[in-house]
């Protein structure tokens, strides 16, 4: 049984309890979402999202992520195709970022 089957996730696959997250779990979620290898750049973004969520209670939007993580938005899309903020949040074991209002 893989690690991911032992943690609770919501309907879209986001961890319900961020404290259950481990780096191995992050790798597993990444590979299930089509990212075979997490490079240092991937980890930089994932850790940034996770730290920000754990300290402020909300994950940054894609724009704030691009400005504050030091990884330009274009590269974020190369690293995490489709939705960088959503995918990095999923891999980092935090809830889905709430869309802006």
């Amino acid at each position: 049984m893989s690690t991911i089957e032992r943690v609770e996730v919501d309907a879209e696959g986001f961890l319900i309890h961020p404290e259950q997250w481990t780096e191995d779990l992050g790798r597993e979620i990444a590979s299930e979402n089509g990212i075979e290898e997490l490079t240092e750049r991937h980890w930089l973004v994932v850790r940034f999202m996770r730290d920000r969520y754990l300290t402020t209670g909300t994950a940054p939007s894609i724009r704030a992520l691009g400005k504050e993580s030091g990884v330009p938005i274009k590269e974020l899309y190369e690293l995490f195709p489709k939705g960088p903020a959503k995918l990095a949040a999923k891999i980092g074991g935090i809830p889905k970022p709430k869309g802006c209002i």
């Binding site: 724009r63 704030a64 400005k67 274009k74 899309y77 195709p81 869309g99 802006c100 209002i101």
Partner: protein, 414 residues
């Protein structure tokens, strides 16, 4: 006793309401109220939506800022250089220093078209337009008059934007306008949004998506604009392309540039982190913020600013009198959504309650989330209310900070 110094930065909707309401709360001997803005042009921004369709003239939407203020508010026509939070002092660009006992940030949001690759390229104001400025809306009017068919794409680059329903309203009105001119059959209308639905809230999204479909406007979701090619292609970051003959876009928004320059005042986008119920800025007791300048999680809209204005003025007064602040703002927003053919729908919501059907503000009243002529008249009438009741800070019957629940089909919320 020396007079208390209240400094307000920004003379738009929020700054003007704050200044006028505070003026009523303090005697002239008790407090001096200063308001600074870079120019003396107060634009009735909701009116800009109508300019491209020849239904309003941009210059008629502008009045002097200074004339909307109580005569005992001192108006300084200057941009702001920076705010020194520790020294409790504002430096204006013309060199004047304004020390404060209480500071109100009301400088709104700034358009940042330069942040999107190619947006300010050769097509800007040729086949790429925004109606979010008086100049842009006027230039777009000329382009729409000459538009005899083709592909018209409406998009916004990313949230947050002022008046999140405005791009949808533009699409609805464009459908009406092109039909009136007899060129709708030769035109394709596309609405592209970075959101995963037509709007930010689920029940309203479903209603608005069916309106788009009924008007034959194509809805493209999760389209995060990466680049604009003046040759007529909009490309998303994930590599999708949308061709256009005419692009009507809403550029990225950020806070005022002095907010970014002032240490400790703004977030990464230049908005002021603000308590969502008291409107006190995070981490500084004597700074308050309202309207588009804040990061509070509700729409950037005039109605929001109006409701916040009442709460903010009362809390600034409480702060200066040494009394505890009231958690008085519930996120109430109230927006008319023009849908074309002299109709509009109305949405009314707050932090906890999304827009649902029903009536406003009572079980008998304006229909919510349903097209009606009455709502359209309400939207048109509001311009008068804005200049004559809202800005001076006069009470408007039935329209206050707390969202009314009576009349709403709350069981439909998801």
């Amino acid at each position: 006793m020396t007079k208390r110094q209240i400094v307000i930065l920004g003379g738009g909707t929020g700054g003007t309401i704050a200044a006028n309401r505070l003026r009523h709360l303090f005697d002239a001997d008790d407090a001096e109220i200063h308001l600074a803005d870079r120019d003396d042009r107060h634009v009735y921004q909701p009116g800009l939506l109508f300019v491209p369709f020849g239904l309003a003239e941009a210059e008629r939407l502008v009045r002097p800022r200074s004339q909307q203020l109580h005569r005992d508010v001192r108006f300084h026509q200057s941009a702001v250089e920076s705010v020194d939070l520790r020294g409790e002092c504002v430096e204006l660009a013309d060199g004047m220093l304004l020390p404060y006992d209480a500071l109100v940030i009301a400088s709104g949001a700034r358009l940042q078209p330069e942040e999107t690759e190619g947006l300010l390229g050769p097509g800007w104001n040729e086949r790429v337009f925004t109606f979010y400025t008086a100049e842009g809306a006027t230039a777009l009017h000329g382009a729409l008059e000459d538009f005899d068919g083709g592909r018209l794409v409406v998009n916004f680059v990313d949230m947050p934007i002022k008046c999140p329903v405005a791009p949808l309203e533009f699409a609805f009105l464009a459908d009406w306008y092109l039909r009136e001119r007899g060129v709708r059959a030769k035109s394709e209308l596309v609405f592209a949004t970075p959101l995963d639905a037509a709007f930010t809230k689920p029940v309203a999204s479903a209603h608005l998506a069916s309106l788009l479909a009924a008007k034959d406007i194509e809805l493209v979701t999760e389209f995060n604009t990466g680049e604009v090619d003046a040759g007529g292609v909009l490309t998303s970051y994930d590599g999708r392309a949308l061709d256009f003959d005419l692009l009507v876009t809403v550029p990225l928004h950020g806070g005022a540039d002095y907010v970014e320059r002032s240490e400790g005042l703004g977030d990464a986008l230049g908005f002021v982190p603000t308590d969502r119920t008291t409107l006190q800025a995070a981490g500084c007791g004597n700074v308050f913020a309202l309207g588009d300048a804040t990061d509070v999680p509700t729409s950037k809209a005039g109605s929001v600013t109006h409701f916040e204005g009442e709460v903010l003025a009362a809390n600034v007064a409480r702060f200066l009198d040494g009394r505890p602040l009231a958690a008085g703002y519930d996120g109430h927003a109230n927006c008319f959504v023009e849908t074309g053919f002299h109709k509009a729908l109305l949405i009314d919501f707050n932090y906890d309650t999304e827009p649902v059907p029903g009536h406003f503000p009572f079980p008998v009243g304006l229909p919510l989330l349903r097209e009606s002529r009455l709502n359209h008249l309400g939207k048109l009438m509001f311009e008068w209310v804005y200049w004559h009741a809202l800005l001076p800070g006069r009470p408007i019957p039935w329209i206050g900070p707390a969202m009314p629940a009576a009349g709403k089909a709350l069981e439909e919320a998801r």
